[in-house]
Symmetry: C2
Subunit: 351 residues, 2 copies
Amino acid sequence: MSSSKRSKTAPRAGRVKLADVATASGVHYSTVSRVLRPGSKGRISDAVAEHVRAVARELGYQPNSVAASMRTNSTYSIGLIVHDMSDPVYPPILTGIEEVLSPQGFAVLVGNTGYDLAVEMDVVNRMASRLVDGIFLATTRLEDPIVERCQDLDIPLVSVLRQTQSRDTPAVINDCLGGMQALTRQVLAWGHRDIAVILAPQNLSTGRERWRGISDVLSENGMTLPEHRIVHVEHMSVDEGERAARTLLADGAPPEAIICVNDLVAIGAIRACRAAGLNVPRDIGISGYNDIPLVDMIDPPLTTVRMNLKEIGRTAAELMLAHMAPDAPPSRTVRIDAELVLRASLRNLNG
Amino acid sequence: MSSSKRSKTAPRAGRVKLADVATASGVHYSTVSRVLRPGSKGRISDAVAEHVRAVARELGYQPNSVAASMRTNSTYSIGLIVHDMSDPVYPPILTGIEEVLSPQGFAVLVGNTGYDLAVEMDVVNRMASRLVDGIFLATTRLEDPIVERCQDLDIPLVSVLRQTQSRDTPAVINDCLGGMQALTRQVLAWGHRDIAVILAPQNLSTGRERWRGISDVLSENGMTLPEHRIVHVEHMSVDEGERAARTLLADGAPPEAIICVNDLVAIGAIRACRAAGLNVPRDIGISGYNDIPLVDMIDPPLTTVRMNLKEIGRTAAELMLAHMAPDAPPSRTVRIDAELVLRASLRNLNG
DNA sequence: TCTAATTGTGCAAACGTTTGCGCAATGCGG
DNA sequence: CCGCATTGCGCAAACGTTTGCACAATTAGA
């Protein structure tokens, strides 16, 4: 009976439930529910409440939240969909989300897509089956079937890091436009003229905004980039960054600087430059975006743009809370400030 | 009716359930359940099964797994408890776990403890309330109240990265002993004699095993470390590593090498050395443990020991599956091999 | 052709909560 | 002292599945 193994379907041996607490307290189990569930309707006298609480504590009662969910249709769990948790941009976001949502009693379900849209759709459907109260989507494309699916399923959605074209979904993003503008101005101010860029896919708001940040500043200064100074990566990884930089370098004289769409790509670019016999930053400048951990320790320390990821997570969580409420506010996009971080990977050609 | 907002307690508008599929198919809803739930008891004719499946697809039926859990007492969800997802050792483990468990229909709930035992206990209790089918514990201490709590709650537990003193819990760990021995032999072979160590708390199996790996090899060679060459960190972070190294360096002549309990600590140590005007590796050698991403790119590239984290995650998941089954095997500890990775942060004093 | 075994489906209970409703007891104003 | 509002608690339904059991229909064996 008290075997430590339990069969697949048998209830956990001796798990104490509401009814047990009720009989032990000499009240009806609905009364116990009302005592233990703060904010239930019926009012209970202090004496009874205290007694029931004592008995519940005594018996070590742990509410069965699955049963509660069955009744309330709310699981107090939310999904977080990312491409790959190993990408260092995601963990701080998760931390920020948990910081806000854990105290409220929410649990976070993470789903890795592995960059596969079919997997991602599956993840959403499974989260829907589990009746998550909401989903944080960190993979958002400008036109996104996942977003549509969530709308069909009527699941509150908050987009993080990126946003949709239509902007009909609440989102918390980094100010990529401002960040990239500031960075590009610095690159120009330091005398770089022959500039190359490694860009993200343009079906992502980040990819597009960062590119616009660059091109805006360039055209302000009467410059445009020739075709052969622009390359794209499919995913933002070290390997793809390295490959992209190699193709940039294969084509005649190297540029004076490469502006990379993010840090991992920049690190790949540094590798490629080094492999091509170029010294960074003496022969070529490199910049990233994100300021992920350790990029201040690499050789050379990476010039980049810091996005306050934990703050993005926290804000997203607050937006989620607002949007799960019965009187949800209209969708809005919150931009979190970006901060330029100058390090040695980009030098001042004038000085 | 088709409002996109839904109240807290109202069922999602128009969510199709078993009964809907049943009436649309002209069969009883139990029949639908048997068709859709592979491996149910009653056998259904192919004709009916096919028809029901078609109708279900047509109606876009998504099973309500909360209701199923209510009946079966199994949620097909498992918890993963870590101190802080931002520590780069954890994400690959999560990926490995998901790789094995997602195809089986499991979802992963992550819980960050923030290094706080009270929080951790709370996380466990909340996961218990949610009826998780099992818990991966990555925070295991040699004597661990969390492990005891899980045993009391009768929740299958698999320890990852570390193990308990009693070893009565299944665990998947890295071969810290072998890894540290190999590293220490290399340090000695390269002529370092005045060695210092920065150790983890000794109430952790990793902390203790890595220290034993070092001291075993030292005593094999007739050496022992003086007190002032041994310091401890509370948590394995860059900051604590830096502080620990500072105290090491404050005390007379610097050692020839510092063996650090992990990479983050080693990076902190490198910082401290640099701040003290020492060149790594010329004036002092530094080694880490883990081989986290980017430590091959830092200055200087870090000599370390690689643990196959994803493999640890996968193996832990398989152990979990075995232990959730009705006929669970006896607990055992699986060791995953460690691999020495030599880089520039430690040089050969002989040549 | 008759009995026995097998197959396919319906019936209804159970899982542990939450909560609308009803009713007794109490308090209060007149 | 009566009637009415308020307070405190019990009753029972409902949430959407899974599954043991009953039983009708079909098949097989003799």
